[in-house]
Symmetry: C2
């Protein structure tokens, strides 16, 4: 059961109580998470390039559009992907040139550009998404279902913690501005 026996792992990894003001564990955790993310991202980039001659940003953008039947605005895509508006504009330009995405001004508010996948885009995405899902499963293959669930849950708590810490600091900065 791997019970965290005191005197073994814990002694070497978590003696926070003995080191007040020390936050090395959090740092090590972050570096390890970054390593995992980078390994996955790099591998997926390579495979997308080799098998589909495309890039991760393009794939990610198409994935967002694929989830929406009615199309999405530049701003919505930008928020979902956590990238700038200008970046969406640029990536969309490439997809437009390849006929994978359609862009048109909304009829009621002509500031807004609505993006949708073309039929070709939907077809291309479907093929890529299927392979992509398999690649991810391959990469996580050594984790069993329980570990996946556990990791998913811990990352959920991490996400909550991050959102709160980031919001708290943004509030502080806004206060400072006033």
């Amino acid at each position: 059961m791997e019970t965290n026996a005191p005197g073994l792992l814990l002694d070497r990894e978590t003696k926070a109580s003995e080191r007040p003001g020390d936050h090395k564990d959090e740092l090590r955790l972050w570096l390890r998470m970054l390593t995992c993310s980078t390994l996955i991202e790099t591998e997926i980039r390579n495979r997308l390039r080799e098998e589909f001659k495309t890039t991760l940003p393009r794939f990610d953008l198409m994935a967002q559009l694929d989830k929406s039947s009615t199309g999405m605005t530049v701003g919505e895509v930008s928020q979902r992907l956590m990238v700038s508006n200008g970046n969406v504009t640029a990536v969309v330009a490439g997809l437009l040139a390849d006929g994978l995405v359609d862009k048109r001004a909304a009829t009621q508010d002509r500031r807004v550009q609505v993006l949708t996948l073309t039929a070709q885009g939907r077809k291309a995405f479907k093929a890529m998404a299927e392979r992509h899902e398999g690649w991810i499963a391959e990469l996580f293959a050594e984790l069993d279902q329980q570990q996946i669930t556990q990791l998913f849950r811990l990352l959920g708590q991490t996400k909550t913690s991050l959102h709160r810490a980031i919001a708290a600091r943004a509030d502080g900065a806004a206060q400072g501005d006033a």
Copy 2:
């Protein structure tokens, strides 16, 4: 204790046994991990820019050099940071210009460029590293020591799984070449 009561979370998240060939859980896990990494990375980039007028790649490169007393070659830094040699060359150019890093050809093998932090670079890094460690702790503040340890361990297993899957595919490709 959050015991994973069947019928609640598990029913919605992990019915892999009922969906053969389905790998949605791994995909969701990856997307959540990516969200966490991106949130942290973006926040750290912003704080480094606002408080120290520097960038994450520069900070990361200085962090590597700081850990080495004798200096590191371009290739070693490139491997540790998981970026291309060319990228190291470019980032180092900026740090050289700012007097934070020193670069000199090794005496015994003049192909090799040895990088070290200057006194100014070490001092600047020390100040940033201290703040950086605090920021990371802040971001993970809502996780207790046990959750940190657990997450660290699960990510360790993930890392192993990733390395094996990536190596396996590289081997396959090498076979295919022969």
